[in-house]
């Protein structure tokens, strides 16, 4: 894998973009004069870095934040917020297309998705959200914001734009970049990534998505619903490699129903530009085919940003594939330096960075010994249906010789899901056999991202299935599926002495 240079980048010429850029990287920003020594220097102004800086500053620490490009990182500028704003419109398109099922359809020819307007809305959303990530806002909260390439010069020093920042503790949160597969002809043909796709103003008529991970699946479905003819190519035999196969199967079904051309177990071997189109040669085992597209979107995965950080000078161990090596306390091999988020491959995604912020602040500044593994951190792929997970997978439990039982509730067993016409999917809660301890859960449902929070809360609070069965939900709600699972656990557990006594009582 190499990082190729030829991305398709559309010009940014939009008032919302001006507001956004003025907040996340003001053109006239002047780096402050460094303090003698900071309690905490945060290298990387993404979601996790900013949260950590804010929490440390609130606690009274002197904090410097170093960002080489845009504050807010991938999450705000080229990922979570941007894609969710776009997915909101695409989901609406899907609903309108399916509205006939609910007695409210409209003739197909009367429906028109305005891609330009949807992108404009996305930029407006991004500009609004960027306020809390703005350089001036952070500065007002007592954080020294430095723009420029930060580079460690020693075990407790870092240089940015010729200025040296001395620190007591540092956090590396530089994130990751899109991996560009080494496909002959790709660079010459041009391609989109998460960095450039949100700059589009015109919808590609035919889009080839290479990579079936969360980003690839989300965007493939969104563009298909906007009216592009999307083809998605995935090297593995199923989407979302880390998720449960039933969830991946349900997603695959949903994407096929949307009309996406699905090529699993397939690789793009070569790409060439024709007169008016891009031609991709796809290979599945020994079968070859050629797909024509107008644009290519790359989503094969991300690699940690570790180059040019001076990690050797700081005595921080890392490797190019897995990023910075950390322990459960988020410490690197240099006890003064911590790392979190995408730059540590095992712990990706913005919400993990957010969860890590608190740990870093406590462990770095207040002699805390909080463990990342003690957290129950959920995540979600925001396709339709959504795929959300928290805690262990069954395979992980079995690898650790933990006997596991899964309580499954189909969404078509849930009254509200039936009423909503959103019966696709399931709730699976994994429980340690012989106990009511929740090990993890997967939810595949239209609102899985919201539903998983109930289970995440239960796990964080140490609530087991028996207590969960006592939690009341408003009726009818889709989240009641979780209570149904808990009830089923209670109903199928071995009779206790109390059950026996109750039965005896009723016989009296």
């Amino acid at each position: 894998m190499t990082k190729a240079p030829a991305q398709v980048q559309e010009p940014i010429a939009n008032r919302e973009d001006e507001v956004w850029l003025d907040r996340v990287h003001p053109a006239d920003w002047k780096n402050p004069h460094p303090k003698d020594r900071y309690h905490l220097v945060v290298l990387g102004g993404g979601y996790g870095g900013i949260l950590t800086a804010l929490e440390a500053a609130r606690a009274g620490a002197s904090v410097a934040l170093v960002e080489r490009d845009l504050l807010g990182g991938t999450c705000l500028n080229a990922g979570c917020i941007s894609s969710k704003a776009l997915i909101r419109t695409s989901r609406l398109c899907g609903d309108i297309t399916n509205a006939w099922r609910f007695g409210a359809g409209m003739p197909e020819h009367e429906f028109h998705a305005d891609f330009g307007a949807a992108m404009e809305r996305m930029r407006h959303v991004r500009a609004r959200v960027s306020r809390r990530y703005s350089a001036s806002e952070l500065s007002e909260r007592g954080i020294d914001v430095f723009f420029g390439n930060g580079r460690f010069t020693g075990k407790s020093t870092l240089a940015v734009h010729g200025k040296e920042l001395r620190f007591k503790r540092a956090l590396i949160a530089t994130g990751a970049h899109q991996i560009i597969p080494d496909i002959p002809g790709l660079a010459e043909a041009g391609y989109l990534t998460n960095d450039s796709v949100f700059g589009l103003t015109k919808r590609p008529r035919r889009l080839l998505v290479i990579g079936g991970g969360p980003f690839g699946c989300e965007l493939a479905q969104a563009f298909q619903r906007f009216g592009s003819q999307v083809t998605i190519v995935q090297k593995d035999p199923f989407f979302l490699r880390q998720e449960e196969r039933d969830a991946a199967q349900i997603l695959s079904e949903a994407m096929a129903r949307d009309g996406i051309g699905i090529h699993l177990n397939t690789e793009a071997r070569s790409i060439r530009r024709g007169s008016n189109e891009i031609l991709a040669n796809l290979v599945t085992d020994d079968y070859e085919t050629t797909i024509a597209a107008d644009a290519i979107l790359i989503g094969v995965g991300r690699a940690p940003n570790v180059a040019g950080l001076g990690l050797e000078a700081a005595n921080v161990e890392y490797d190019a594939a897995n990023g910075i090596h950390i322990n459960d306390y988020l410490e690197t091999s240099n006890p003064r330096i911590f790392a979190a988020g995408d730059v540590c491959r095992e712990h990706r995604f913005a919400h993990i960075e957010g969860a890590s912020a608190h740990i870093v602040t406590r462990n770095a500044l207040f002699l805390g010994r909080q463990r990342l593994s003690a957290l129950s951190i959920p995540w979600c792929t925001f396709t339709d249906p959504e795929i959300a997970h928290v805690g262990m997978y069954v395979t992980e439990a079995r690898e650790k010789n933990i006997p596991v039982r899964t309580l499954t509730v189909l969404m078509h067993e849930v009254d509200r899901a039936i009423a909503d016409g959103e019966e696709e999917g399931f709730v699976k809660i994994h429980v340690r056999e012989g106990t009511d301890c929740i090990l993890g859960a997967t939810v595949a449902a239209r609102h899985a991202g919201e539903m998983i929070s109930d289970i995440s809360l239960a796990m964080s609070a140490g609530i087991g299935m028996r207590r969960l069965a006592c939690v009341s939900h408003p009726y009818p709600t889709q989240a009641a599926a979780i209570k149904v699972a808990a009830n089923r656990f209670v109903q199928t557990r071995k009779p206790s002495v109390r059950n026996w006594l109750e039965k005896l009582w009723l016989k009296l």
Partner: protein
Amino acid sequence: MFNPAPTIPRPGSIAETSLLSDEILLDRFEERAFRYFLECANRENGLVADTTRSHYPSSIAVVGFALTCYLVGIERGWMRRDEAALLTLTALRFFHGSEQSEQRNATGYKGFYYHFLDIRTGRRVWQSELSMIDSALLMAGVLTAATYFAGASDTESEIRDLAETLYGRIDWRWAQNSGVTLTQGWKPECGFLHYGWEGYSEGLILYILALGSGPHALAPESYAAWKSTYQWETIYGRDVLYAGPLFIHQFTQAWVDFRGIRDRFMREKRSDYFENSRTAAYIHREYAIRNPGGYKGYGENYWGFSAGEGPGVRTMTIDGAVRRFFNYVARGAPFGPDDGTIHPSVIFGSLPFAPEIALPAIRRVCEEDARIGSDFRVPNGLNATMPGDDEGGWISEGMFGLDQGLAVLMIENYRTGFPWNLTRECRYFRNGLRRAGFSGGWLER
């Protein structure tokens, strides 16, 4: 010369079917399914056609089913023992003498065989894969035949010798491709396929036989690795080792009697693979009763989702609802995919485990579709939602060998347990089961 055209069975009618006792009804279906193998076998090399459709090749898995079905035919008086022995020997001689090499048109390699073979020449067709599971199903038939033909005649003696040779030369460890679990296939054009045999599936018989052989047998660790992705789920209030398509719960079970024998996983769960197949049938039935997709016909006696044919890839508006139909896919319950298609062979496949729900479903299918009730044909797929040529909805054309094989073995297992009794006596099955960690019941005797 080989002629795959099926004979027309004795006529019947739906009204007559309803008057038949369960025993006679099942006998009719079993015999009709058995006749498939006589009608579709090439007597010159023992290969059997995958389907009754013209120009279809032979499937090695169907040959595996055929070799065991011949034994049922002998016991039922539908085939003479010497005729069955000769047909079996012809097949074994063919496999023994056929080309084993890396050539693209060979018959096999490393002791395994290509999934589809030209029924006349016996060479690889359709650029099919060297198939580990289909080779295992073939060997299941080979080994049961060798167990049954225990006579002193030259024919029966040669059957036993060839079976030992064919089974013993399979290089199971090569099929691991340096991993722990088995790969699903290999092609001379691209090497091993990306898919592996991991998690509960019909691959259970593959591991049992791969563990039970001699020089190239897998280590027990491979079975443990295969089980590592097992999911023990409570679905519709029933505990089950989950797999969606119903045939997964039946292919290994067609040969192996799992009553009372358990591996470590089933010991922990206090269940066994027999009970699990019963639960799976009930889950399919429950799914059909709930019928979340609103498909026509589904109900307590109309269920059975599996890998098989469908009405074809198309989208249609039927009774105001947009319906997407599929071609050949692995349908399953309760997670789908589901396009309104059921696969009757797995209803027959449920007979030994849950006869109280399978028998009414067989009768319902006969009533639902006159084309089944009148000639006792087990079709591959039925779809009452998709309009067919007449009122019965869509029905797949012709007959598939795997369906007939499953129907014969499972009806017979339900009626007498004869196929199960054969493998109980086969040392390779016993050895494989023991090395996989199975114990208890008949394995201890």
